[in-house]
Subunit: 194 residues, 2 copies
Amino acid sequence: MPEPDKHQQIIDAAVRVFARNGYYNSRVSDIAKEAGIASGTIYLYFKTKDEILVTLFREKMASFVAYLGEAIAREPDALAKLRRLIALHFQILEQNPDMAEVVQVELRQGHKFFRGASAAEVTAYFKLISSVLEEGVAAGLFRDDLPLKTVTKTLFGAMDQMATSWILGKRSYKLSETADAVADIFLKGLAAKP
Amino acid sequence: MPEPDKHQQIIDAAVRVFARNGYYNSRVSDIAKEAGIASGTIYLYFKTKDEILVTLFREKMASFVAYLGEAIAREPDALAKLRRLIALHFQILEQNPDMAEVVQVELRQGHKFFRGASAAEVTAYFKLISSVLEEGVAAGLFRDDLPLKTVTKTLFGAMDQMATSWILGKRSYKLSETADAVADIFLKGLAAKP
DNA sequence: TACAAATGAATGGCGATTCAGTCACTGCCC
DNA sequence: GGGCAGTGACTGAATCGCCATTCATTTGTA
């Protein structure tokens, strides 16, 4: 009976190895070495190398969304929820730099990844964002004349790009310090008051 | 002397092949077949398979930015320029679906692509966006209390995500019809007027 | 004839995956 | 207590398919 422990051990090693070398430049044997096991052992827990990547993403993304969901539930209104969502999105990535590297840069392998396997987890995050927006519209805090889906994608895209730039720029500044500005742009807009 | 023509022929074939199968599932011989030439011929024009991808991106991105730059120069003020930039960004992708597929989905191959080779072209696009924003601030049309870089990344990220969602959703709606909403979010913000 | 361009079969390397053994336990019987 | 299977996890060297890249040869043309 495979230890359920070793599954995690492999995932964690994979995050470090992928962050260091990239997915395609990482050998399965590198992951094994990093985890302190033989390469064959990996195949007792994962069918293929791809499956490691997909599983890794699913598990991390699921816990990311779950954590965010709980945290914003405690906020009093949609406005506070939105600000907290943005702040936490950045904080979590900042606190897990290897993970951030993998998610922002390595995990975009075209067909393999984006289509198919991981759609459900991304959708869950989109739903979380949407629900905050809906709540805000219902409470009269947010405008009701914008298409919900567009606002959702736009906000996600903005956060995602902030994170990607931060990673590609070698994490040379504090990502979470940009959270307020991002929130302000979305809430108050760019146009000067008339 | 290699015909300068064939270079383009190969690039165009590569776009179609990568769009269809993804970069890693495409053989160099597939590109050759699509271009109607022998696989060895490709190596008279490109050193490696990677170089095809990188060159492809550079050339397309450079002409994308050049075209956008000229188009918005004709607009009267920063506000009109911003709206036009967003509209054109979407229109161009919409009119080149194979290209869009490659850029949005295939061309994110971690280390290989994002870091290194293509940085200059992306930077040029960021500069273009920044220049419009600066102009708007100078003219008193845009708020001056937001960090320019953050607004730039946020806007780019928003457009990029809109495009990616559209591609992943099988292009089942008109991307360019969302341009006004995206512009409105950025300009007027999400918050209801007090 | 001479030179450049194009060809595509053959090569070579890489690394994911496999699988025949080894190892560590556990329980059982004498 | 101690030999003795039985069980299942673990190992890592060997395999094997794949495909980018090469290059001896052919084709075209000046």
